[in-house]
């Protein structure tokens, strides 16, 4: 753990008690995430990637081990509103306009009216939705709705952005476009991003660090530091480095499956 570590997990375990007996969702997870990193969690369903993200967010409580976010417990970090969370579905309120939806966290956190308006305008511009403030969610495409939900997560200026398969429900073309925009956003805002996905190209394209996980019990099998430059045009996906990393991720996923 170094001075610029924002998220640190040591010996993390989480066991869910279910009707079919205990499920070991996370086993001995050790991971340090540094400030400004773009870190992806990849693995098949049941590998604990979403559970780990939810632990960071304080939405689940580990059974064992320590986890710190900005030097605080996840629950304290949640109270300090240290992160913005983007879910798989945009989850916009149908009775609020796009602007109203982005304003929701700001209202809850007690920002002044003028600051709310200023921030809504700023983050909507950041996700290329300036001019859509007065539209209702059903008037927007799925990709635009998901961008609005990212704007909502950015509105209160948390340093950390946690994203749980945010583009999983979108088609490939929209997804490529949003990935490109997300990288640009990350470069501009210098946030630390935790990103759950089960797409190998998406993980490799976006991340500075890829965490490969495997199920039963959910654990980390490989951590790959990406050698790709910060500037990444879409055609970087045809480069040799890109294909090499993708290959290593695939190998990691396959190795995790051997004991199935």
């Amino acid at each position: 753990m170094t001075a610029d570590t924002v998220i640190s997990a040591q010996g993390l375990n989480l066991t869910f008690q279910t009707n079919d007996g205990p499920v070991h969702a996370l086993k001995d997870v050790n991971l340090d995430i540094r400030k400004g990193e773009f870190i992806s969690f990849i693995g098949p369903s049941g590998c604990g990637k979403t559970t780990f993200l939810r632990c960071i967010a304080g939405l689940e409580t580990p059974t064992d081990g320590t986890l710190s976010v900005n030097g605080m417990t996840p629950d304290q970090a949640r109270r300090a509103r240290a992160y913005g969370y983007v879910f798989q579905a945009a989850g916009l309120y149908p009775w609020r306009t796009i602007g109203g939806n982005v304003k929701l966290p700001l209202e809850i956190m007690g920002f002044s009216k003028s600051e709310q308006a200023e921030r809504v305008a700023r983050v909507l511009a950041l996700v290329d939705l300036a001019g859509f403030e007065k539209k209702f969610p059903w008037q927007l495409s799925g990709g635009m709705q998901q961008r609005a939900s990212i704007a909502r997560a950015l509105a209160f200026d948390a340093d950390i952005l946690l994203m749980d398969e945010p583009f999983g429900a979108l088609d490939e073309i929209v997804r490529d476009h949003l990935n490109e925009q997300l990288l640009a956003l990350w470069a501009r805002t210098e946030k630390t991003i935790g990103f759950v996905t089960h797409s190998i190209p998406e993980a490799v394209y976006l991340s500075t660090k890829i965490v490969v996980m495997s199920p039963r019990p959910g654990r980390i099998t490989d951590v790959i530091d990406s050698p790709l430059p910060k500037e990444r045009p879409l055609d970087i996906r045809d480069s040799k480095e890109f294909i090499d990393i993708a290959h290593r991720v695939r190998e990691g996923l396959r190795a995790g499956h051997v004991d199935d």
């Binding site: 939405l59 109270r79 509103r81 969370y85 149908p94 929701l104 059903w138």
Partner: protein, 306 residues
């Protein structure tokens, strides 16, 4: 407008069945009357005619069929008789007269509206309690369900007698019975509506560290609005039924229920039928008002279903 055609088709079908049914239903009375008026009737004695079905008697006396539509006190009034009675008692009478259906309608409607207001307020408060408090969830809901299994006809006179004991008469006891019937759909719909936000929506609020009152005002309450309107529409018609039922067993002298009872007791079915139709039209109008309010509200909230 698109929905008008199927509705009118059904109305026309009902009218046809009704008009056809008038003949056999009234034939015995018509035959008796015709005989008193000196007309030929087959068979000739009332006792013999009792052995015939209404349909059989109609075939035996086809010439009397037009007369079945004009009896003063028919067993089944024809549509034009009911319409005529309604026209007379709604449009031609002074609205303050005891002969006016508008007067009786207002007596019932005022109790309905007061009862509906009490019932929905109570229903919403109970639903909020049930959603936020586990003890209330476990205790109130079974009683709310049990309350609706008691026949309101048995309960209504008891409520009215007991409230009368405390000197409370007139509108309020009827409103209480209306409230008793209308709170239930509101509780059920509102609980469902307040619980309609999914786990992800609730998690999102947790990431903002929102308080449960913020969750209520910003998420649960707006999410419950469509459910609430569905409940309102059931509740308002239940409230009207409650007010009418409250008038029936208690010798009330005004209201739709009183008119129905009077028509029945004095052998004047036209009065009963006119009151019945007026009540049905009132219920339809109340539901229509809530449908319009629903459309308006959802459109203003941006949730209008296209």
């Amino acid at each position: 407008m698109k929905s008008l055609f199927p509705i009118l088709t059904i109305v026309a079908a009902i009218l046809v069945i009704w008009v056809l049914a008038v003949v056999p239903m009234n034939m015995h009375l018509t035959a008796d009357q015709a005989q008193r008026d000196g007309l030929m009737v087959m068979p000739q004695t009332p006792a013999e005619r009792q052995g015939y079905s209404g349909l059989g008697l109609s075939f035996a006396n086809a010439g009397l069929i037009p007369l079945t539509y004009t009896l003063d006190r028919p067993r089944l009034p024809s549509p034009h008789q009911v319409a005529g009675e309604m026209w007379e008692t709604i449009a031609l009478r002074n609205v303050t007269s005891r002969q006016s259906l508008v007067y009786h309608g207002w007596v019932t409607l005022s109790a309905t509206l007061v009862g509906f207001a009490i019932g929905t307020t109570l229903g919403i408060l109970l639903a909020v309690g049930i959603v936020h408090n586990r003890a209330m969830d476990m205790s109130v809901m079974p009683w709310a369900i049990a309350s609706q299994t008691i026949p309101i006809l048995a309960l209504a006179p008891m409520i009215i007698v007991m409230m009368g004991q405390f000197g409370i008469q007139g509108l309020l006891p009827k409103a209480v019975i209306s409230a008793y019937l209308s709170f239930f759909p509101v509780v059920v719909g509102m609980v469902k509506g307040l619980r309609s936000p999914d786990a992800m929506q609730m998690d999102l609020l947790r990431t903002y560290y929102a308080s449960s009152s913020q969750g209520f005002w910003k998420l649960r309450l707006p999410a419950s609005v469509p459910y609430l309107f569905a409940s309102f529409k059931i509740g308002i018609s239940a409230a009207l039924v409650g007010a009418i039922v409250a008038e029936l067993p208690t010798g009330a002298r005004a209201g739709f229920g009183a008119r129905m009872l009077v028509g029945d007791q004095y052998g004047n079915p036209l009065v009963t039928w006119a009151a019945l139709f007026a009540a049905a039209i009132t219920a339809a109008a109340l539901v229509a008002i809530f449908t319009a309010m629903e459309r308006l509200t959802l459109r203003r909230m941006g949730m209008a279903a296209a």
